[in-house]
Every structure is written in structure tokens, then in C-alpha cells.
Point group: C2
Amino acid sequence: MSRKKAPKSVIKRLPVYLRILDNLIRRDVEVISSRGLSDETGFTAEQIRKDLAYFGAFGTRGTGYNTSYLRDKLMRIIGLDKKTRLVIVGAGYLGKALTRYNVLKNPYVDIVGVFDANPQEVGSEIEGIKIQSIEDIPEVLNKQNVKVAMITVPAEAAQKVVDSLISLGITAILNFAPTKLIVPRKVQVHNADLTIELQSLIYYVMEEEKEEKESRIQK
Amino acid sequence: MSRKKAPKSVIKRLPVYLRILDNLIRRDVEVISSRGLSDETGFTAEQIRKDLAYFGAFGTRGTGYNTSYLRDKLMRIIGLDKKTRLVIVGAGYLGKALTRYNVLKNPYVDIVGVFDANPQEVGSEIEGIKIQSIEDIPEVLNKQNVKVAMITVPAEAAQKVVDSLISLGITAILNFAPTKLIVPRKVQVHNADLTIELQSLIYYVMEEEKEEKESRIQK
């Protein structure tokens, strides 16, 4: 295992490649060049070749990548060829949406618990999974080896929830709470910010309106 | 307006800078260097200086950026100093979560309609906004100038919904449906993929487990 460790930015692009490959396979595209992958992803062909080279030699010079082969390799590299156990803490609308989405769409995910602080939510079911009280988290995590948690609690509750999860063995957190979490170095936190995409979209709408106004003035 | 047009990748980083600046201001940090911004964002200092230079000269050489000043400038550049009208189509768990989140947290957003195809949802309220039938979309969009839509309908319904929205004047779409949308060139689509962050997180968990196993074997 003397291979150079791939930086975080590369790892974040692997799921994008996977998504594109899924689309290509659905469209019966069997082979794609790094140039073709560039058109689909918006990353440069050179970037794509460099990214994939961290994990091995997958393409054929002058031909490109076999889409199914590369897809299977990426699934294994990311770790989606096995089920990953995870818990979801916070069963508001977003927690429920994520539970349903993962049960229906992500076969590589095994949701071993969905928890909420609200007694009125506890006991109700989403896609066959019963919502449990957050007080039951230690019991569930002590019984099973779980490393991954999704957090959809309110911002002001997030840090406390996360501290407790880390003390119970969680090492990877997908944080949907709009707050910055403080965690030990060995814990990975990815922040899923639903606002960032919206803001960059608003930028383009505003630009368009500005251009429209300017072209009207010029007339 | 001879300024060079900023590429999409730059525009996508502006909200990240904004988020970091908000955090810094909350921590009473008044000035930050591009180096400091680099530590907070993970982008290189050079990248940050280059990104911001598209929009003007905001820093002082040798000192850095005034956080409040840069924040206000970015708000204006992105277009968050005015309210943007938008509609949300799909009032399942995710649509409701987005409605609530935007009403409570995003003062620059004005949700003028939330729509769903399910008659059982129509008439119920989230944060004071009444869910309307998707059949009411044309009436609402004809009455008001709306350019932005968030789509949280099932994948198989998304294209039809989007075609209809575009015919009614929508030019910017934030798509949460797990499908690729086909739109005219002048329409902006941003795909918000809740799975991509999860997958790169799973990669790190798998890596960690591999390392643990290897270190056990070596013992």
C-alpha cells in the first residue's frame, strides 16, 4: 500500500464520477474518454486522469474508460460494495426525508436507528423504521458497531448530540445542522449545507436581471 | 462593467466564504488574512485572492480583509441584499424541511408558493405558508415575477414539472430530485445531491477500518 494518499478534494469528486457513470450506463454508453467525462462533470480531463490515477490504472490509452468496469471499481474504492451501518439523529422533516431516501435509494446503507428528542415523534415509523428516543442511542450504539451518524437536530442542540455520539464510537458525521461542530481530530465531519447551492443560484438570477436591465437601457 | 466574468467554480465558492465570514464575525474576528481564510475553507490563499479579485479589491496588503466589510460586499455580489422570490414544488418531508428552513433562516428568500400533487397535503400549513395544488402553479407564477424554483418531487415526475415551470418563466432551478434534468441553455440547474457527501464520508470510514485491520495484522 505504497500508493499516495488521495487528498480530500479528490475523494469528494469520486461520488460525482460515480453518478455520471451511472447515468452513462443507463444511456448504454460503454466507453468514455477522460475528455467525455470532462464534458459531463465540468472538471478538466487532466484533473480526471490525475484523480483516478490515485487508485490505479483504469483506462486504455486512446480509448478511454469502460463505464461498467470503472463504476464497479469506484464502488469498491468508496466502500459502497458493502453495507455501511449508520444512525440518523433528528427525525424532523429533514431526518424523515433522509431516512426515506436512504431506505429507498441507497442499498449500501443500513440505517440501524433513527432518533428524536420529541416524545410525540417516538414510536412512529418511516419506511419500516421506528423512531426511538435519543435516550436510547447509547443502548443501540453499544450493541452494534456503528461509525457513521447523520445529524439533523436544531443548531443549538447539535454540539451536545455530537459529543455524546463521539463518546459512543461514532467517527464520521454528516452534519445538516447549520452550525460548525467542534470535534477531535480523528473524527470526520462533512457539512451538508442546503443554503450554498441556493445562494450561488441566486447569484445567477441577479446577474441575469442586471443584464436584462442594461440591455434595456442600451436600447 | 469590463470586469472578467467569474467562472461557475468561483461563484460556488462565494457562499462558502460568506459562511466562514459569518462564523468569524460571530467570534468577533474583525480582520482575516487570505492565509487565515485558507485555514478555514481548505482552499489555497492564492485561490481565495484570485476568486475575490474577480469582484474588486477588498483586502489591504499585509493586513487582510475586514470581515464585516467583505461579508457585506459578498452579500451584495451574490444578491442576498434583496429578497429573491421562489417557489417550492413538492411538499414531502424534504419540501417541508426546505420551506421551514428558508422561512426561519434565510431572510433573503421570499417563498411565494409551496405546491404538491397530493390532495391530502393541499391546504395544510408550514410556517404560515399554505400548501397549494400543483394545478395552481400557473396562476401564482402569472401573478408574480418568480425566477427561482426548488424541486423536491419524485424523480419520475421531475422533468414534467420542470418543463412546465420553464414555460411559466422560471430560469433557475435547485433540483433535489435524484435525476438529471434536460433544460434549455438559458436555464440554470443546480443539482443538490444529498448522497455525494454521504459517499465521501463512507470512503473515510472504510479507509479507517482498513488501517485498523492492517495495524492489527502487523502486531
